[in-house]
């Protein structure tokens, strides 16, 4: 019940116990991942055998390859970053265009279009992946049969991964940027026009600075979602695996503390991203 009503002691105790248990449930998996990245044993399992940095730095006398020397894992981190940068760029650009289209444009069928834009969020990622895979190879085969063109970027590989992730991350960027543009006070723009500013000048000096927090926020979310996507990526991946797919493969083969090391690195990276993003936000929202 709410604080203004009498709450019996047992209820207060139960609530407190529940909250603690809930938080333990949330954090236990993350804590064990972090802890076993430093265990001096070839397998991420108890008992604790002492602290080591071998799983980051490597140790040739024990035949251990650390994360920083594991070229496969490091390469997949780079692959993920490249994919995420492309997805972020495309999503923020399209999200901005869509925001203006939905908030400023007047045309028949706008309501239907705005509902259609939400569709990628309710289609399971696996199905988005296979449908894009099937459609891309249909086009590639058509180009090959009729024109004799080899369109390699339409075969499973990183360009398709970028397109697959972009197909639903664009919706999220659209929602974030539209929500901000909706609250924009248009009299500011009118004042600038009355004072003789040109359209591009108004956009650059008034609208864009106003949208900045939403643009940065949606860029951060897009990057993170792309980096962490698994379902869609798995269906479209070719020879170069992004990190999530690489880790999945290794986890099926067996456990190694190097995976804990790379996970800890990921946690640190998301924490930095989250903190910079939260600090930028005004406290009111």
């Amino acid at each position: 019940m709410i604080p203004s009503l009498p709450r019996p002691a047992w209820l207060r105790t139960t609530t407190a116990v529940y909250v603690v248990a809930f938080l333990a449930f949330l954090f236990l998996p993350l804590v064990v991942v972090a802890v076993f990245a430093f265990n001096d044993a070839p397998y991420p399992a108890p008992p604790w055998r002492g602290f080591t940095l071998d799983w980051f730095l490597g140790n040739s006398s024990k035949g251990r390859t650390g994360l920083f020397a594991d070229s496969e894992l490091m390469g997949s981190i780079l692959t993920s970053c490249i994919v995420a940068l492309w997805v972020t760029l495309l999503s923020v650009l399209l999200g901005t265009a869509n925001a203006f289209l939905l908030e400023r444009g007047r045309f028949p069928g706008k309501q239907a279009l705005s509902v259609l834009m939400l569709a990628p969020l309710v289609i399971p990622g696996v199905i988005l992946g296979i449908s894009i895979l099937a459609f891309a190879s249909r086009i590639a085969e058509f180009a090959d049969d009729t024109l004799g063109w080899e369109l390699d970027f339409l075969r499973p590989g990183l360009p398709l991964v970028v397109l697959g992730q972009f197909s639903f991350i664009a919706t999220i960027a659209t929602l974030t940027i539209s929500a901000r543009l909706r609250r924009f006070d248009r009299t500011l723009e009118e004042a600038a026009f009355n004072l003789g500013a040109s359209k591009p000048a108004v956009f650059r000096t008034i609208v864009l600075p106003y949208l900045r927090p939403a643009l940065l926020g949606s860029a951060a979310i897009s990057f993170l979602m792309s980096f962490e996507d698994f379902n869609t990526t798995l269906m479209l991946v070719g020879a170069d695996s992004p990190l999530t797919v690489m880790m999945y493969g290794r986890m099926r083969e067996g456990a190694s503390p190097v995976l804990n090391a790379v996970s800890l690195f990921l946690m640190a990276a998301s924490a930095v991203l989250a903190l910079t993003f939260m600090r930028r936000r005004p406290p009111a929202h």
Partner: protein, 293 residues
Amino acid sequence: MDSAVRARWHGRLSLGLLLAPAILWLGALVILPHVELGVLSFRERVSPHNYVASLAQYKTFFTDPLYWNVFVRTALMSVAATVLTLLLAFPIAWTIAKLSTGRAGSLLFILCLIPFWVSETVRTLGWMILLRESGVLPALLVKLGITAAPVELLYHDATILVGLIYTSLLFMVIPLISSLESLDNALIEAAYDLGAGGFAILRTIVIPHAAPGITAGCIVVFMLTLGNYLTPTLLGGKNSQWFTEQIYTQFITRFNWEQGAAFGFLLLGLSTAMVVIGLKITGQRFGDVMRRT
């Protein structure tokens, strides 16, 4: 040309420039791929490079008990995961929205948020280290004298459920908080003063008010659970029998795209049906629900 006409043409041009990328995105990456998937699912290969229209792919699904069972199992497990997530998330959402004031509330909220900034792969790795036979919890159970030897806690249905609930919690907590925050405390106080008990208040005041948030949370969680691949395959191992796995096997391993496309459409149909039913029951609009989450 007079200026009014020019202005109108200018407006049309910029509208066209804004519409083009949106149409390209939805057309080339969402609509046409699903049309292609539909076409694939309704044909059958009779000889190399020779296809005929047929319902064979769907017939396989309904006649082969293996596929049908996996499909029903995935749906039922997803319903179970959704209900359990709601039950677990509700007290926390209530605590954040109604019990904790000011900074304690936002601190608790941020603590709930943190695990979801971390990749699902990492979280699943954590559960594997905790639950596998040589893992942390079996060792703890032996130390406490509850079991004589370490037990395998991975590869059970319950393990899959734990993993799915864990991944889904945040998507339930956020819509619940936003719908509970808008509930006026005075209503609860009035009911209390008139002699209503805790359960009556919950049933007649809280749940009807929070219904939109509950629906939004349930829809999103059900969808994400149904379409999940990583958690069931890693935590369930060979026993996972999740429908997305069947789609992957047909599409990528066996290269039987026609069958995979049909399975994909069936999963999409189930997911869409649940969304529509959920919205119908509570009389909400799709756009409003999505904006909530």
